[in-house]
């Protein structure tokens, strides 16, 4: 006979001690900052006037929608997050928040962000935000991430959509410009994440996530990083020859692209372990700066054109 009453243990309710900071961590604030910034740039460069209240509403909804995606992603990946040093400190592996709590939090935020954007701004933007959350949670997290080395290539579409959502919020329609912004982030994602995966490949292998360095090896990953970076530089410069942006953006994109390419070549050439780690870390860090600077240049060119029409 057991002296422990297992029924009593199972029935004892778990009282949460999760703090607000734990819930904020579920929103992936650093990812959210990049999402908000790219969406802000799309709002700035979109044609026509957007009322500031509607612009703030759109950004808030996009930010909350991105946070909802992050929370749902963490809810579904608690098991593998616990196995990786980079993610072991997240609220679910630490036991601060349970999976059902994170799911409820993410679903609530997703529901209200889509509903608010749809009602207050327009339903094209609201539908696109819903699709973005669905793509990140269902297509990327639930379907692709644990099944294919192309997970972040296809899944990258989710991270590329926020400027498209913002453009739709500002104009009520879609056109070529937001598609170009989408393509820039889409082709930026593989070099960025594969650089991270190269110096965290032990983590991913332990968790059984088939990232490219784990499945195809570091050399194949280095080649893919280089190839995607070449395409990225071409795509990022495209708005200039296509006539959507002028020389300021074109030249800035080529200079930044040359930097990105130099770091990617460095990653391709340096194969020794210590050198390779340094090179991939540098590429990872520069790729974040690259995207911020590229999008900032887009916004600055439009602002400059608006305030100095006579000298432009």
């Amino acid at each position: 006979m057991s002296v422990v009453d297992h029924n009593a243990i199972e029935l004892a309710p778990r009282i949460s001690e999760a703090d607000v900071a734990d819930y904020i961590a579920l929103l992936k604030p650093r990812v959210m900052s990049l999402v908000v910034f790219t969406a802000l740039v799309a709002l700035v460069i979109a044609p026509g006037h957007v009322h500031p209240v509607l612009a703030i509403t759109s950004l808030l909804c996009i930010a909350v929608g991105a946070g909802a995606s992050g929370a749902l992603n963490m809810a579904l990946e608690g098991d593998i997050d616990a196995l990786m040093s980079r993610t072991a400190n997240r609220p679910i592996p630490r036991g601060r928040i349970t999976k059902p709590e994170a799911m409820a939090f993410g679903m609530t935020l997703a529901f209200f962000s889509v509903l608010t954007l749809g009602i207050l701004v327009n339903w094209i933007a609201g539908s696109l935000l819903a699709f973005t959350i669905f793509f990140y949670v269902v297509i990327y997290t639930m379907w692709l991430k644990r099944r294919t080395a192309q997970n972040i290539v296809i899944g990258g579409a989710a991270g590329s959509l926020p400027p498209v959502v913002a453009w739709a919020a500002a104009t009520g329609s879609l056109s070529v410009e937001p598609l170009l912004l989408f393509l820039i982030i889409f082709f930026w994602t593989p070099p960025h994440f594969w650089a991270l995966a190269l110096f965290r490949s032990d983590d991913y292998a332990r968790a059984g996530v088939p990232m490219l360095p784990v499945v195809a090896g570091p050399d194949a990953t280095r080649l893919q990083i280089l190839l995607y970076t070449i395409v990225l530089v071409a795509v990022a410069a495209a708005p200039w020859p296509l006539g959507y942006f002028d020389a300021i953006y074109g030249i800035a994109s080529l200079i930044l692209g040359a930097g990105m390419l130099a770091f990617a070549v460095n990653v391709y050439r340096r194969r020794a372990r210590a050198e390779s780690l340094r090179a991939t870390r540098k590429l990872f860090a520069f790729s974040i700066l690259y995207l911020f600077a590229l999008f900032a240049t887009l916004a600055l060119e439009v602002i400059f054109r608006a305030i100095a029409p006579t000298i432009w």
């Binding site: 009282i15 949460s16 999760a18 607000v20 209240v53 509607l54």
Partner: protein, 55 residues
């Protein structure tokens, strides 16, 4: 004087649990407040156009 109050039934929260619950409740209240303000402001902008009326 003896405390004649009955022992509380059910679950008794610890101080840490009470504090974190209070902070979560305040955060939810603030979020709802922001939502109300947002709907109010956008109604003024898009609906009766109060903010855009000529002086």
């Amino acid at each position: 004087m003896a405390d004649n109050r009955p022992e509380p039934d059910g679950i008794v929260l610890t101080e840490a649990q009470k504090r974190s619950r209070r902070r979560r409740s305040i955060a939810i209240a603030l979020a709802l407040g922001v939502l109300v303000v947002l709907f109010f402001a956008v109604t003024l902008v898009k609906g009766p156009a109060v903010l855009n009326r000529p002086l």
